[in-house]
């Protein structure tokens, strides 16, 4: 086994297009790391560079003291789970799972034992002799996972393994993958575009955009303290308001103005311009006696909490998630705690929501 996997300035270009720009990343043994981002962000490129299926344009990959980016995929020995499973259609489940062991020339008796263990881990003992075509999508995905982990790889790479499954099965397989990860003490790198999936499963999330790593950290860190607007928009819904700076009290602490009201906020980026954006989650909206004046437009009852749509006196519309919803049409005042009102530089182009 190993201690750390180190990516140093890993870059991959396709012609003039930079699919992955100088990725630096350190992964400790036993971690579950998600690469998260919209399609085309470079997350699959990063995974393919790790597996060896795609040569690097520049950079290095180190597994402790061993440089591995110069090795072909078959000599890296990382287990990989593909988006379309890539099970060998002409081999039975047993043979599919045993393929890696055959390639490693593992003795027959040990091979039989390890394949049997893998089959019981994924609970498909009854289907050992079937061909992949005779299995359901979820079962095929389980076989693909078993095939990747039976070779006891130092690193398991998963490329959007759940994106072909329906919603219920996806939740089930999440737990299944986490169970296998924990039972075997694996180190897993998991590519996904679904932030719920990443939040639910990961020890560490790496958010990517346009080939560039935006932020890496624990799920709660990324969720509550996104370093830039792109990450903020990717990590769940946020209200956005155009604000102007009024005073800077100290490191990270700032007062911004909007429609004549001053708001204490947290500056997430250094800025020197006038145009700023304040972002906050609907959960952070609280009713107060003072603050931003707003008229309630609609209330959608949702059990414990209601989604309240409000038009601020200054014009824009925000959403709040409130336990006790005011009546539609009433005038209220709302506040957002300073630590949850995050201020970013306003990007020159229009803001695209993910």
């Amino acid at each position: 086994m190993f201690q750390t996997l180190e990516l140093k300035s890993v870059t991959r270009t396709f012609g003039s297009h930079k699919a992955l720009a100088s990725l630096d990343l350190s992964i400790k043994a036993g971690e579950f790391v998600s690469l998260l981002g919209p399609s085309g962000c470079g997350k699959s490129t990063a995974l393919n560079c790790l597996s060896g299926l795609l040569p690097l344009s520049s950079g290095e990959i180190w597994l402790d003291e061993r440089r591995i980016d110069t090795l072909p995929p078959e000599r890296r020995g990382f287990g990989m789970v593909f988006q379309n499973y890539a099970l060998f259609p002409h081999m039975s489940v047993t043979k599919n799972i045993g393929f890696g062991l055959t390639m490693q020339k593992v003795p027959a008796s040990e091979k039989v034992r390890r394949v049997r263990d893998a089959l019981s881990l994924i609970k498909l003992q009854a289907h050992a002799d079937k061909l992949p075509g005779q299995l359901s999508g979820g079962q095929q995905q389980r076989v693909a996972i078993a095939r990747a982990i039976v070779i006891e790889p130092p690193l398991v790479l998963m490329d959007e393994p759940l994106s072909n499954l329906d919603a219920t099965l996806r939740i089930e397989m999440r737990e299944e993958i986490l169970r296998i990860h924990q039972t075997l003490g694996l180190t897993t790198i998991y590519v996904t575009h679904d932030q719920d999936e990443a939040l639910a499963m990961s020890d560490k999330i790496v958010v990517m955009k346009d080939g560039v790593m935006q932020q890496a950290g624990r799920p709660e860190e990324l969720y509550s303290r996104p370093v830039n607007l792109d990450v903020a928009l990717f990590m769940g819904y946020r209200n956005l308001l155009d604000v102007k700076p009024e005073a800077q009290a100290g490191e990270g602490s700032v007062t911004v103005g909007m429609g004549g009201v001053s708001l204490d906020a947290t500056a997430m980026q250094a800025f020197n311009g006038e145009a700023l954006i304040a972002a906050f989650k609907p959960d952070d909206v609280v009713l107060a006696d003072t603050g931003l004046g707003a008229t309630v437009e609609s209330v959608i009852y949702g059990g414990r909490e209601s989604i309240v749509k409000m038009r601020l006196d200054a014009g824009p519309v925000i959403h709040g998630r409130l336990k006790e919803a005011p009546a539609p049409g009433s005038h209220v005042h709302v506040r957002v705690p300073a630590e949850n009102l995050l201020v970013y530089r306003k990007p020159p182009a229009a803001i695209g929501r993910h």
Binding site: F82, H90, G137, L157
Partner: protein, 305 residues
Amino acid sequence: MAAVDTTAEAGTIKAPGRDESAAVAGRDLRLVMLLPGVAAIVSLFVYPFLYGFLLSFQPNVGPALANYTRFFSEPRLFETIGKTLWLSFPITVFNVGLAVPFAFMLRRPSSGQRFLSTVLVIPMTLGTVLVAEGMLLYLAPNGWLNRTLIELGLLDQPVRLIHNYWGVALSQVVIGFPFAFMMMLSYTTGIDPNLARAAATLGAPPASQFRHIYLPLLAPGLAITFCLTFVQAFAVFPSAVLLGAPAGATRVISLAAYEAAFEDFDYSMASTVAMIMGAVQLIIVAAVLGLRNLAYRGPAVGGKG
């Protein structure tokens, strides 16, 4: 069957009186549309075949099987089977055997793949006769190839490449290889490239990827390609006459049929030769397709795409 019933029922509900006959008979009138196709097959294939088959048992002289006894008692005739097989079988093995690694290497779309495909399609479109004429000029004792080799000092005297076995063999490669390659290319590109990549991550070097993934999945396509290439080579006629030694080493079976029909005017004997020719092809094709049944036949993708 279900579709047929539904239509008949629907017809009954709409106009019970008029469509009763069709409903009672349980037939779908749409089947009538098959008639032109069936007529074409019967008149162009089934009838001539049956006609020839029956004709082969009506010799000019002697009992019904006289032609068959004559074929297998005259070396001039029965030796054509061996000569044709000796020509077509090794060449088919060579063509298909060469097509597989070529197709494997060019399985990913690239400029090389497009270039080679174009180059290879040209002899296929030119036809056997034109290719044979070209090769006559190119391979002749005083043709370009021999003269170049002699000028370069690589040869003392011209090497004989036409009017013998090798002339026909070469033309069969020129015609047959592109065909085999194009077929194998389409089978190879039909295999999900992720399968080989998955095998690579599991420790399989390229040679093992080919052996364990590509070869088994290509087996059915390989069998079909072999059969079609073989049938083409077995029916070789123009190049055997033009480039071969029609009286000797390349006296192929189609030549014997031609002689019987248009030199001896013995159509019955010609039919007999044709029937024997068909039977030999059928035996080889059946054997190859029988082997195919041992292989995996199904989709060549590894899951949901």
